[in-house]
Symmetry: C2
């Protein structure tokens, strides 16, 4: 791990930590911004290290949509299932070992099959929809579900009102899941816009988590459709700008580990790279983590005014997730 620019604030660590070589993070308050798979993986690593009450995962809700009358929150669910150990590691969505009996029956009855709904996963959507219908906020509903499934830390939807990412493409303007799942990211992206942005506010829980955070971590999530919706909410950027903040690049060697981020960069006329990601956060972030394959890009990122850190960031298994989380925290708290 190579720290190349000493611009991070130092955090108040407990005495024991500051006197030891290897810091523990028992007193570090962290707010992590997350989208889907990459965000979920780093969040799981952080949850394995940090005390549950000190970690708040703030999750994109721009992907949320209504399908078959159910309110589906793909990013919240990916993070929730990952943190509860239920996630299907092969797909990036859904629950490991889930069955699809209901979905098959839906199709037999003439209903749509393009969005995968496992039988166990469906329980999440049915209860969420019902509890929202009863008047609970998405924040409360998410907490009930996450607690029931054994998620240790706070899982916070970025806002409680609809804030739907619309992908403006050569084939028309598509709600995100229509673009992402139904059309498999094929249409060429021209821009994004958000339905509900005029009224959406970050939740009080999100603002409190940001205000009390010693460190804000941007998980390796899509900058356009996972991180941007969170940053766009009124007051979020301002709150982050008052704290130390570190991003982990979702682009490695010019490609995304998962998902359409690199394709989106290209279609928007930007060469996908860790630098291109860092440029989107320039002026806001205090630190940036690049994957080892992108070590050569560290100076270009540092030139944007961020501390940089190079480490392996692929996180297929829990061991790697913990290692990356620890690396990010150590980078963030390292005295400059």
């Amino acid at each position: 791990m190579a720290v190349t620019a000493p611009s991070l604030e130092s955090f108040k660590l407990d005495e024991e930590t500051t006197m030891n070589e290897k810091p523990n993070f028992a007193n570090l308050n962290v707010a992590a911004l997350a989208g889907g798979v990459g965000g979920a993986r780093l969040a799981q690593g952080l949850a394995a290290i940090l005390p549950p009450e000190r970690l708040h995962i703030i999750v994109n809700t721009g992907d949320d949509f209504e399908h078959l009358g159910l309110t589906i929150c793909p990013d919240l669910d990916t993070v929730m299932y990952t943190l509860s150990g239920l996630a299907n590691p092969k797909t990036g969505w859904g629950i490991a070992g889930d069955t699809f009996t209901c979905l098959e029956a839906i199709q037999r009855r003439g209903g749509p099959g393009w969005f995968n709904l496992g039988d166990r996963d469906l329980a999440t959507h049915i209860l969420r929809t019902q509890w929202l219908h009863e008047g609970q906020r998405l924040t409360e509903v998410t907490a009930r579900l996450a607690t029931a499934l054994g998620v240790p830390c706070a899982l916070l939807p970025m806002c409680d009102t609809p804030y739907q990412t619309q992908v403006i493409t050569a084939a028309g303007t598509l709600p995100f899941q229509e673009y992402f799942v139904h059309q498999r990211c094929r249409p060429e992206v021209r821009a994004f816009r958000w339905e509900g942005a005029d009224v959406a506010q970050p939740t009080p829980e999100v603002m409190a988590a940001l205000e009390q955070a010693d460190l804000v971590i941007f998980c390796p999530s899509n900058p356009f459709v996972s991180i941007a919706p969170i940053l766009n909410l009124p007051g979020v950027k301002e709150a982050i700008s008052r704290r130390a903040s570190v991003a982990v690049s979702p682009i490695l060697g010019g490609e995304a580990v998962k998902g359409p981020a690199a394709k989106m960069f290209r279609e928007l006329g930007i060469a996908p790279s860790a630098v291109a990601v860092a440029e989107r956060y320039a002026g806001l972030l205090t630190g940036f983590v690049l994957d080892s394959v992108d070590a050569g890009l560290a100076p270009a990122v540092a030139a944007l005014g961020m501390a940089t850190c190079v480490m392996p960031t692929l996180m297929p298994g829990l061991d790697e997730r913990i290692a990356v989380a620890r690396g990010v925290l150590e980078f963030a708290v390292a005295p400059r």
Copy 2:
């Protein structure tokens, strides 16, 4: 089979039929009123005999309710699953071989488990709810589902608007499913009332089926909570009174084959019997079918002004269902 009173009209049968000993029923238009299991069984027998376009099954919707945000129509589903060959013969509800993965996951997440929802069954409720939400009438939604599942004849909900049976009991007024499933029919029944009765109308399809029927059959369904809600709809009794109509007693030897009908009679201060059932339909029905165990009650029923017919009416399997259906039709068309 003993016909003891010759008061039925004769029907217009095709020439071939009237010239043969054994009538076929190719030209007989039948409307059958049905509730749950008993109704579904006789309906299946009728569907095996009659041309699909001549059979209309009119189903009680008084049991319908909202659960977990889903519109559930227990009687419609019992009849639909029975007619499509999917019904679970052991339970009287749901689909044979269905799994309960989603329901178990709902309970794990803190949701209710008192109402059984199989994974395949759930597909019916999800699509029905969604299609209703899109503005389709329950009649249209039911037709889509029934067609997809291979039901040959018309399956008609009695009305398209909510018309919910409320059971007034010693333990308070309970929506029917709360009484029937959640409280397992334990509270003592004092009376019934119907939510939505002030605005409910039989559907145009129901009225057309009754108007074109040569014969109306009251399936062996609960007179209080399956048949009464249909009869209570404006114009239904009048339409039936202009046609030949035959009921099959749901009470055999003083007990119901299934369900709380006998218990309800007792709690309302009436000794449960085929005669007690017939009394409820006196002045409306032209014929009444008693089970062989109740042969001795035929004169008492005949004294109410109905033709009577005694035959075995238990219908555990398809053979018996067809036999009872044929017996009922032969009784109804027999020249007096």
